[in-house]
């Protein structure tokens, strides 16, 4: 049995709910680890084989487990401080700021990183923020240069250099870039955003007691949201799991967690009141849950609008380049 190699962690770590990725430095290679919650897959890139590393700026909307934990603590904070004066407002503003910062970092400080060898060109999913990608590149360069030496000066004719698998590059060079496929014709994403805003408005009206709480209307809206989110998940633009699908997944998880959390909270409150021999009163929970529902739906709706605006600007940019 060969000796176990001690790997050193490289900057960048993708911590997803299901899928994770990281890069590790070995004695003569980089180990790319792709984890799928209960399974890890490894790929080695030997220093002597690495031809090029590329970092391309671009939006990456990734909901990490850290973001999920922050969201969970935000929910706890909201439930704890809603009764204080301006408590709900303060925590609500904090939530909007958190979402805005996530959108900012995802849209403007993100990147895609690729590694090229003679037989492969792979994406490195763990490097999705500009700063971690640059730190990783700085950490790797000395090791690769130590094995391969420095690039000849003056530089060779770079037009003649073949990087990556020959057949793939040849195909890319000979054929023009494929025209982008049209956006999905069923506007499920618009329905999802609309239903989120309607849900937020309805919850706010319920909380303000402008309308009577109606489980029928609430359930119908939730049903509509779930249907729209599922259709968005099924639709894949460019066959990729994009920002729309992430938002749809977050909406589904959020709705499920909210429903489950409300039920558990109500049950626990009732149990505590019964144990303390007090009359069971869960009415305040309905008000808080309406407020929470309103804020969650509003934040998701705003995130959806941000996704639409970013997509439009990307399409416009691409259209101007093509024309």
């Amino acid at each position: 049995m060969p000796d176990r190699i001690r790997y050193k962690k490289l900057p960048g770590h993708r911590r997803g709910i299901i899928h994770g990725a990281s890069l590790w430095l070995g004695p003569d290679h980089i180990l790319a680890v792709n984890s799928f919650r209960f399974r890890e897959e490894y790929k080695r890139y030997y220093f002597r084989d690495i031809q090029a590393l590329l970092i391309a700026r671009g939006p990456r909307f990734h909901l990490s487990t850290r973001a999920a934990v922050i969201g969970f603590f935000w929910l706890i904070a909201f439930a704890s401080f809603y009764q204080l004066p301006y408590g709900a407002l303060t925590v609500g503003i904090l939530g909007v700021l958190l979402v805005a910062s996530w959108v900012y970092f995802s849209a403007l400080c993100s990147c895609t990183c690729r590694i090229h060898t003679a037989v492969s060109q792979d994406r490195l999913p763990s490097l999705y923020r500009i700063w971690s990608a640059r730190r990783c590149l700085r950490a790797l360069e000395p090791h690769i240069s130590a094995v391969q030496g420095a690039l000849e000066q003056p530089l060779p004719d770079l037009e003649a250099v073949q990087i990556g698998p020959a057949e793939i590059v040849a195909e890319k060079v000979e054929t023009p870039p494929p025209a982008p496929s049209p956006r999905p014709t069923i506007p499920a994403f618009y329905f999802l955003i609309g239903s989120l805003f309607v849900n937020a408005l309805w919850s706010w009206l319920e909380f303000r007691r402008v309308v009577h709480p109606s489980s029928l209307v609430s359930n119908l809206m939730v049903l509509f949201e779930i249907a729209a989110a599922i259709v968005v998940l099924v639709q894949k633009y460019h066959h990729k799991f994009g920002a729309r699908q992430i938002l749809a997944m977050v909406s589904l998880i959020g709705m499920g967690s909210f429903f489950y959390g409300t039920q558990v909270w109500t049950a626990m409150t009732a149990a505590i009141q019964t144990a303390a021999k007090q009359p069971v009163n869960t009415t305040p929970i309905i008000g808080v849950s309406a407020q929470l529902d309103c804020i969650i739906a509003l934040l998701l709706g705003i995130a959806g609008l941000a996704v639409l605006v970013l997509e439009r600007s990307a399409d416009h940019q691409q259209g101007s380049i093509v024309s």
């Binding site: 001690r6 084989d49 590329l54 391309a56 700026r57 990183c113 770079l158 250099v161 040849a170």
Partner: protein
């Protein structure tokens, strides 16, 4: 330069790369930071002809190609394409695939089941439907003990997840024992 954009795979403009290490993709517009290493230049050097002439040793799998080495394990002649070199030794693809002799070193791990993650998450996931923790609590303890000696991830250095799983499982089991004891005691008091 046939270097594709990291985002959209469209070729990056060579004139930009010639003047620096960044290039804007003409297809998606994203700015690419590029580092090219000497391996890229070396791989484009044309390889001399490897055709075997009459009387020359030929590759076992490719009789038309000249042999460049013999497999360390089985002794078959291999051409430049078939020779798999690790340190000072050369193996043929068949020995590497078959993990024959020392060639098993050429088959590094490509995947691993994370038993410690499974063990630590069993009791927590089962909280969603908490009555089943009566099974999953002790189950997590047994599973952790059974899988303790199994190889864990290449990059994880310790087995703290197994420890957490055992402690959580023991906690769940203890909770159930106390609850059942309390229920029996209550029932006995009620009977009196």
């Amino acid at each position: 330069m046939a270097l594709p954009c990291a985002r959209c795979n469209a070729p990056l403009p060579a004139w930009e790369l010639a003047s620096g290490d960044t290039a804007a993709c003409t297809s998606c517009g994203s700015s690419n930071q590029v580092r090219v290493f000497p391996a890229a230049v070396r791989s484009s050097v044309p390889v001399p002809s490897e055709t075997a002439l009459d009387g020359e040793a030929a590759c076992f799998d490719h009789p038309a190609k000249r042999a460049v080495a013999a497999c360390r394990h089985c002794g078959r002649f291999v051409c430049a394409l078939c020779s798999i070199q690790f340190g000072d030794e050369v193996w043929c693809p068949a020995c590497v695939v078959g993990r024959a002799g020392a060639a098993h070193r050429a088959n590094p791990d490509t995947s691993c089941a994370l038993y410690d993650s499974i063990a630590v998450l069993i009791p927590w996931f089962s909280l969603i439907f908490w009555p089943i923790t009566i099974i999953t609590g002790p189950g997590a303890v047994v599973f952790s003990i059974l899988k303790w000696r199994q190889p864990i991830s290449l990059v994880r250095r310790n087995r703290w997840r197994f420890v957490v799983a055992i402690l959580t499982g023991l906690g769940a089991a203890t909770g159930w024992v106390l609850l059942i004891g309390f229920m029996f005691a209550s029932a006995r008091r009620g009977a009196r």
